[in-house]
């Protein structure tokens, strides 16, 4: 649920990047922070959590216009996957408006993807949310590694694994090279804001 800041007339939404450790969530956000620097806040907060990093910054989608005279600000987060970081995950997922699930295309990470998605569903449930109803976009990352002869899962297989029931929009990406990062973000913003508009019955 977005926060409405009446003082500055800003609507703050929360978009969380979720996925298995070392799958490219952080790389996604780092790329966004650099490539869309006009849209981002001055600083990116980076916390070293064991085996992973938690990132946070504000993103201002320019060109989106205002909703009833209010600016829209998106808070972008990654969340540490490890079970022990319960407090962090709880805070980050509290009031989440949209989720990008970054899956790892490496063959060896097939199981990790499935477990992480199940974990996401459980954690959303703890927050009183249903994974089928939360605006969700999937990203199948690390597609570029095929060029180096590293065994990857075909997109169809990952989609079958993760998305056969969810039927969420999905994108192939190589976050390290920036490919697909923008497309994923744009679509995630689109579905998130559309949902907000529906929830709050805004008309533009």
């Amino acid at each position: 649920m977005a926060i409405f800041n009446a003082k500055d007339r800003i609507i703050e939404c929360k978009l969380v990047y979720y996925g298995p450790g070392r799958g490219g969530k952080t790389t996604n956000l780092e790329y966004i922070f650099k490539a869309f620097n006009k849209n981002t806040s001055a600083e990116m907060v980076s916390i070293n959590t064991m085996g992973d990093r938690t990132l946070f910054f504000d993103f201002l989608p320019i060109g989106l216009g205002k909703i009833r005279g209010c600016e829209v600000k998106i808070q972008l987060y990654t969340v540490p996957g490890q079970t022990r970081y319960r407090s962090t995950r709880k805070m980050v997922l509290k009031g989440v408006d949209g989720v990008v699930f970054v899956a790892d295309s490496l063959e060896v990470r097939r199981k990790a993807n499935i477990l992480s998605l199940r974990d996401l569903a459980d954690n959303l449930k703890d927050e009183g949310k249903n994974i089928f109803q939360v605006p969700l976009v999937l990203q199948y990352n690390k597609r570029d590694l095929a060029e180096q002869g590293i065994p990857l899962l075909p997109v169809e297989i990952i989609d079958l694994d993760l998305n056969s029931k969810l039927k969420a929009p999905y994108f192939s990406a190589s976050a390290l090279k920036g490919q697909g990062v923008g497309a994923t973000l744009k679509h995630a913003l689109l579905v998130t804001l559309r949902q907000l508009q529906k929830e709050l019955q805004w008309t533009r």
Binding site: I3, N5, K7, D8, E12, E43, V45, I47, N48, T49, M50, T54, F56, P80, R84, Y85, R86, S87, T88, M91, K94
Partner: protein, 395 residues
């Protein structure tokens, strides 16, 4: 500085992480005070334009203080609106602080401030005297000490009698250092019931009343002890501002402690003591019940009983004006969780307004709350002791 409290609440519902986002989102200026029952000083965080600029928690200052405050998950907060002029000791952004603090909680770097666990309260076990021989007898620990209420300090040497059973006196002390033992004078000689350690109170609510008050047990120093004499007048003033129902409940709590102590002494001496009326008893509160109601007895008698491997053990008798049931701020180790209440059909009760009692409780000073907590702990411990004596007797 306008100095108005503009936001208050409980940390259990609105965590410090949430507060940072609310205050930050509104670019507010002001002071956030965090009070917890388990620490003596309030924690303070200063905000400027929604960002924390300085803080204090005990002897900690700045960022260290903020991180420590994230460990408080219980207690109340209030935000006082108005510009603050303090040194800008914190340069990190608020979200960085929040995320970092939460990580530190999960990594176990920040210690959670919680009520002392049963394990902490009971160092040693009454039911395993052989273990106590190795570690020394069980010592009850009290909550954090509220130094604001201490008017004088007194030292007592090992073995010195601080309070004598049967004498009159109205002073209330708090154990600052060392420990004391509570002794019940019996026909079989003095019987040591409890050991009280740091933060425990000597003397109860009856001391705050106008009429004379007879000490119900003796207290002796075990090793050298330092006690803090409490400002009884101040506590009494607080007592008389409480709703009548609350005061009645405190009096009943006192009676319960006295009764369970007598009962434990009887059981230790293998005296028959309390017995239940033979017929017509009905269960009023079932042990383990999740019902969140409390009652005061208008007429009749009720009995607190506990299930043991060898049948039901009557613990104490409740009379007119006594209360029983569930009160969120009282864990006496009896009903509704660990004991049942039974009564005959003619029992007439009045339902207590639990919400009002809780509101009155949350408005109390830390010293007063500590006293309630301490009496409950003593009841709980003595109940265990009574249970232990009863089992020993029958084997």
């Amino acid at each position: 500085m306008s100095g108005k409290v503009v936001l208050t609440g409980g940390l259990k519902f609105t965590s410090l992480a949430d507060l940072f986002q609310i205050i930050g989102g509104n670019n507010s200026n002001g002071t956030l005070r965090i009070n917890s029952q388990y620490t003596p000083d309030p924690g303070i965080i200063y905000f400027l334009e929604g960002n924390p600029v300085n803080a204090s928690d005990g002897h900690l200052r700045g960022l260290d203080a903020i991180y420590a405050l994230f460990g408080r998950t219980e207690g109340n907060f209030e935000f006082i609106d108005g510009k603050v002029s303090v040194e800008h000791a914190i340069k990190k952004s608020r979200m960085e602080i929040v995320l970092d603090a939460l990580r530190m909680i999960d990594d176990g770097v920040i210690k959670k401030v919680e009520p002392p666990s049963t394990q902490e309260i009971l160092i040693g076990r009454p039911d395993k005297p052989e273990e106590n021989k190795k570690t020394g007898p069980s010592v009850i620990k009290g909550p954090a000490i509220d130094y604001l209420y201490i008017v004088d300090e007194e030292d007592f040497y090992d073995g010195k009698t601080i309070v004598k059973e049967g004498t009159y006196g109205k002073w209330i002390w708090i154990v600052l250092e060392g420990k004391v033992k509570i002794i019940k004078e019996t026909r079989g000689g003095p019987l040591s019931i409890l050991h009280l350690g740091e933060g425990c109170y000597i003397g109860t609510f009856s001391s705050l009343l106008f009429h004379d008050y007879e000490r119900s047990a003796s207290v002796k120093a075990v090793g050298d002890v330092r006690l803090g004499l409490l400002d009884t007048q101040r506590l009494a003033n607080e007592y008389y501002t409480l709703p009548i129902e609350f005061r009645g409940m405190l009096a009943s709590l006192d009676r319960r402690l006295k009764k369970i102590t007598d009962r434990a002494a009887d059981l230790a001496l293998k005296k028959a003591g309390l017995s239940l009326p033979g017929k017509g008893l009905e269960v009023v509160v079932q042990s383990g019940s999740k019902k969140e109601d409390a009652y005061a007895i208008a007429e009749g008698k009720a009995y607190v009983i506990r299930k043991t491997p060898k049948g039901h053990l009557p613990l104490l008798e409740l009379e007119k004006e006594d209360f029983f049931g569930f009160l969120p701020f009282m864990d006496m180790g009896q009903e509704p969780r660990s004991a049942s209440v039974v009564a005959q059909k003619d029992l007439n009760v009045r339902k207590l307004n639990t919400a009002e009692l809780q509101a009155a409780h949350s408005g109390l000073s830390m010293a007063f709350k500590g006293m309630i907590f301490n009496v409950c702990t003593c009841i709980s411990y003595t109940t265990k002791l009574a249970f232990f004596f009863s089992q020993k007797k029958r084997t």
